[in-house]
């Protein structure tokens, strides 16, 4: 092939690309935080003694896990307006990403909670703590510690999933890269640069999670 790589074409767009990175990071950070919260609550609901809560949580998790993300986004953005609920592209994207991240995290977190020894609950009960207090002060942190590596992986996946929200016109790195592609027709260069940017961001996220792991979960275990 005689294709001549020319990355200089992209130079005028560096500010846009950086903006794309920033938007992607922002989108991921918000969705991951919300997803973590949803995940914890759902994991709790799945272990609750109320059947309704268990069924609701189970249905939510199964529906989200077994259908493509694109459909979820489409449903929120194109489908809900028919019911009179309308979201801006970014809000729709955040909602979809959070729900998605939450469902996958819930399963991981449930595994962590299951791994906490019964003795910990009993010690809490014997001290007179209420079930929610036991969960919040005794179970949660050790449980998260156990599954944090898996959870980090899930979060990095959420970062990569953000690229799909370009299909409902939410602005982030992929949509910006595609727009630049439209103007320059330098698909290879754009894809390579975008790949490197995604790689950098996911490395950054992974490193951040490792750091959190080291600082927040630093207590020694046997």
């Amino acid at each position: 092939m005689t294709y001549q790589f020319d990355f200089s074409v992209l130079l005028p767009y560096w500010e846009q690309l950086l903006r794309g990175c920033w938007l992607t990071i922002l989108l991921s950070a918000i969705s991951i935080s919300a997803g973590l919260t949803i995940g914890i609550l759902t994991a709790l609901a799945k272990r609750s003694r109320f059947t309704t809560a268990r069924i609701a949580a189970g249905t939510y998790v199964e529906i989200i896990r077994n259908t493509p993300f694109l459909v979820q986004v489409f449903f929120i953005f194109f489908g809900l307006p028919a019911l009179g609920i309308s979201f801006q592209p970014w809000s729709a994207a955040i909602l979809a990403l959070s729900l998605n991240c939450g469902a996958f995290s819930a399963e991981v977190i449930r595994g962590g909670i299951d791994a906490i020894a019964r003795g910990q609950y009993e010690a809490g009960t014997a001290l007179g703590l209420k079930p929610l207090q036991i969960f919040r002060h005794i179970v949660l942190k050790p449980a998260l510690r156990i599954i944090f590596p898996a959870l980090s992986g899930q979060f990095v996946l959420t970062l990569l999933t953000t690229s799909i929200v370009s299909s409902i016109s939410a602005e982030e790195l992929t949509s910006i890269a595609q727009s630049i592609d439209t103007l320059t027709f330098r698909s290879f260069e754009i894809y390579i640069v975008a790949t490197i940017l995604y790689l950098t961001m996911s490395f950054g996220f992974a490193t951040l999670f490792k750091l959190i792991d080291r600082v927040y979960f630093s207590y020694p275990v046997k």
């Binding site: 020894a117 003795g119 910990q120 009993e122 010690a123 009960t125 014997a126 001290l127 007179g128 703590l129 209420k130 207090q133 002060h137 005794i138 942190k141 050790p142 510690r145 979960f217 207590y219 020694p220 275990v221 046997k222």
Partner: protein, 259 residues
């Protein structure tokens, strides 16, 4: 024997009623009956040691006293609160009964100090500063105040068990339950935990203790109870109990223990 009659009478002087009353207690796990018609009355300040073969229901019995297990039949009254009568009583009783487990069950993500502060702050609403002082007082009591800022995993087994005792004491319980508190320990560490427990006993704490440490039973117990197959088979003062057990099952068991 170091039972101090003065202290004992003082403790029971405040209220003459027994602190624990168990009558006709029956419990099943599914179709399997773990507790068969248990009757036991414990006076304030009394120290009771429970022994018996594995699976005989010792743990289940003392876990009932703390409502960690529910029972199906009978009556169980702790410090005047009937445990059959609802959640409210259960919560009150749990805060008044301290429990020490075989596996310590310290919270690994909290320091020794934080382990001790958690329940006073969350259950009693004690302020942080006071909870700290409380924790330090009881940690000093079990001679481990210097380890207050370490995490459980950084302590030896014996130290961990002493922290577990201090943690229970921080709720200033009226009764302490011990479920084989030394059987997960190395031989050397057993002694330091037993010493701590002897100290507590000398202060007049009401204690129910599942253990096979006969030396400890001889030293502090007011009564020794032998359980087998969910029943209290024999009960008595330590000296006659060990020297001259009446029931053949007790005899066989004590024989094995001292092989």
């Amino acid at each position: 024997m170091s039972v101090n009659p003065d202290q004992r009478s003082r403790a029971s002087a405040s209220a003459d009623a027994p602190i624990i009353e168990i009558a006709g207690l029956r419990k099943w796990f599914g179709t399997f009956q773990v507790l068969q018609d248990i009757a036991l009355t414990v006076a304030r300040g009394e120290r009771i040691v429970i022994c018996g073969p594995s699976g005989s229901g010792k743990s289940t019995l003392i876990r009932c006293v703390n409502s960690l297990e529910r029972y199906q039949e009978g009556r169980l009254v702790v410090d005047g609160y009937d445990l059959g009568a609802g959640q409210k009583n259960i919560d009150t009783v749990r805060a008044e009964v301290g429990m020490v487990f075989q596996q310590f069950n310290l919270f690994p993500h909290l320091t020794v100090m934080e382990n001790c502060m958690l329940a006073p702050m969350k259950v009693r609403g004690t302020r942080k500063k006071e909870a700290q002082e409380l924790a330090m007082r009881f940690l000093a009591r079990v001679r481990i105040a210097d380890q207050a800022l370490k995490y459980p995993a950084q302590l030896s087994g014996g130290q961990q068990q002493r922290v577990a005792i201090a943690r229970a004491l921080c709720m200033t319980p009226k009764i302490m339950l011990f479920d084989e508190p030394t059987s997960a320990l190395d031989p050397e560490m057993v002694k330091e935990v037993l010493d701590t427990m002897v100290g507590l006993a000398e202060d007049g704490m009401t204690m129910l203790c599942v253990t096979h440490e006969m030396g400890f039973a001889r030293k502090v117990a007011d009564r020794v109870i032998f359980m087998d197959a969910g029943q209290i088979v024999e009960m008595g003062k330590p000296e006659p109990f060990f020297a001259n057990p009446q029931n053949p099952r007790t005899q066989a068991f004590l024989g094995q223990l001292l092989h």
